[in-house]
Symmetry: C2
Subunit: 245 residues, 2 copies
DNA sequence: CGTCAATGGACTGACCGCAGACCAATAGAA
DNA sequence: TTCTATTGGTCTGCGGTCAGTCCATTGACG
């Protein structure tokens, strides 16, 4: 019998999946890493205070502190006491170790296709939704700034700026849940993206597509926004598949 | 200062959201309810054994049993001991109490728009992905069966059959994560859908759209599948907005 | 008619995460 | 210079969750 012979069994698998990915500590570490790696808190920035952050994450301060301790030991953040102190993101972030692509692909297995399909649905949908909304001046500025940041980013910063732009587009959809989902799936692909070389040529192409997406959103043209984002994520997907197969 | 004046603050909110919706017990109850209400386990069906289910949900048997106990007391399931025993979904499910729509809308607040935008992205993306894939005969049959079930469903069963069809479409995308996400957002909208009256007229219209979506998927026509699903979810969204505003 | 495998039911000891209170340090404000 | 609000750092008692084990029940099958 082949794996998942019964189609109904797949629905089970989707619904009876684990209720949680890990313990609160691990989840918290993952969240903080997400904020740092996706560029929501930039190097030099201060994280919210422990009490505030613990409340937002619905986690006890003890657990949050353990997570911060782990990040401190990994070299991501540093803490300073006293008023106007806090926990700050280091200026020099630890370099992600470049794993062998094929090895990564094997470990992920079908998870790669899973993530790519999900990402396409989320990001394309977000772009279309954003173009269908009435954006405030502030939101429009925000989008423009992120686009400029990405276009002007150095190679070392490109991935982070790229993430920030995509997050900004997701935010422009007006749906916090959609934004979270985009952030999550991006983190799942992050390790893979780190495994493939970043070519100047690809960046230029990517920037053009970014601009097309943002322009369509600002012009309130959903169909064009959708198509542009569609092409963009398809490009990344093709790149990943090529390098990881 | 208005709420969320700073656009950057919104990204924070999305990333620093609670690491988990509730304790394992509550999450487990929610999962089981999902399986029942979305029709993945039909009335009369047996749930997997406690040991099996606990393992799949990554929850201890104690916690799972507490969840099952809650569902038993609510009238959703019944357990029988002995070999060939198990926990079975009741033939007569408890009727969802019909809350005043406006009240619901007020409680949910912006959560409604959030869920609707997310749902559109996920389901439309799923339909397009499904139409872009090479489906096995089994998958095609599965889709056809679910479509027939829905078209032939009585009013009392319609919501559950409808959910099953949409889940089948999501499954056909080949992405388990996408399937899970569709199930989740559907549960979020479930309470709202229960609050609005189910009209024969709407059902007929809905069935036509369902058929269009499935046909496009089976014909491997992504653009049509996307458009058909787009219209379908837009219709539901309009209905919900009208009743809840 | 007895056997037996698989199921729900019950209990224990250990551990993790929680809320809350308190301490220590720091830098701006008075 | 002193005061003070805010921040990270520390500790304790409590409750939920876990893994593991054993018991009670049931119905198909030999």
């Amino acid at each position: 019998m082949s794996e998942h012979a019964d189609p109904a069994a797949r629905a089970d698998d989707a619904l009876f999946r684990p209720v949680r990915a890990g313990n609160p500590f691990e989840e918290t570490v993952e969240r903080l890493l997400q904020a740092i790696k996706l560029g929501v808190v930039a190097p030099g920035d201060r994280l919210p205070s422990e009490r505030d952050l613990a409340a937002r994450l619905s986690v006890s301060r003890v657990t949050l502190r353990e997570a911060i301790r782990a990040l401190t030991e990994s070299g991501y953040v540093e803490s300073r006491r006293g008023r106007y102190g806090g926990t700050f993101v280091n200026d020099r972030l630890p370099k992600p170790r470049r794993v062998a692509p094929k090895r990564l692909a094997r470990e992920l297995g079908s998870g790669l296709e899973d993530a790519l399909v999900l990402r396409a649905a989320l990001e394309v949908g977000a772009a279309e939704a954003a173009a269908s909304r009435d954006l405030s001046d502030e939101e429009r500025d925000h989008l423009g700034s992120r686009l400029a940041d990405t276009a002007g980013a150095k190679l070392a910063d490109y991935r982070r700026m790229d993430s920030r732009l995509h997050l900004a587009i997701a935010e422009a959809s007006g749906s916090p849940s959609l934004t979270s989902a985009v952030a999550d799936v991006r983190m799942r692909l992050n390790a893979l993206l780190d495994a493939i070389p970043l070519l100047e040529r690809n960046i230029v192409h990517s920037d053009e597509q970014h601009q097309a997406v943002v322009e369509a959103i600002l012009a309130a043209d959903p169909a064009t926004a959708r198509r542009a984002m569609q092409e963009h994520v398809a490009g990344t997907a093709a790149l990943l598949r090529a390098f990881l197969t």
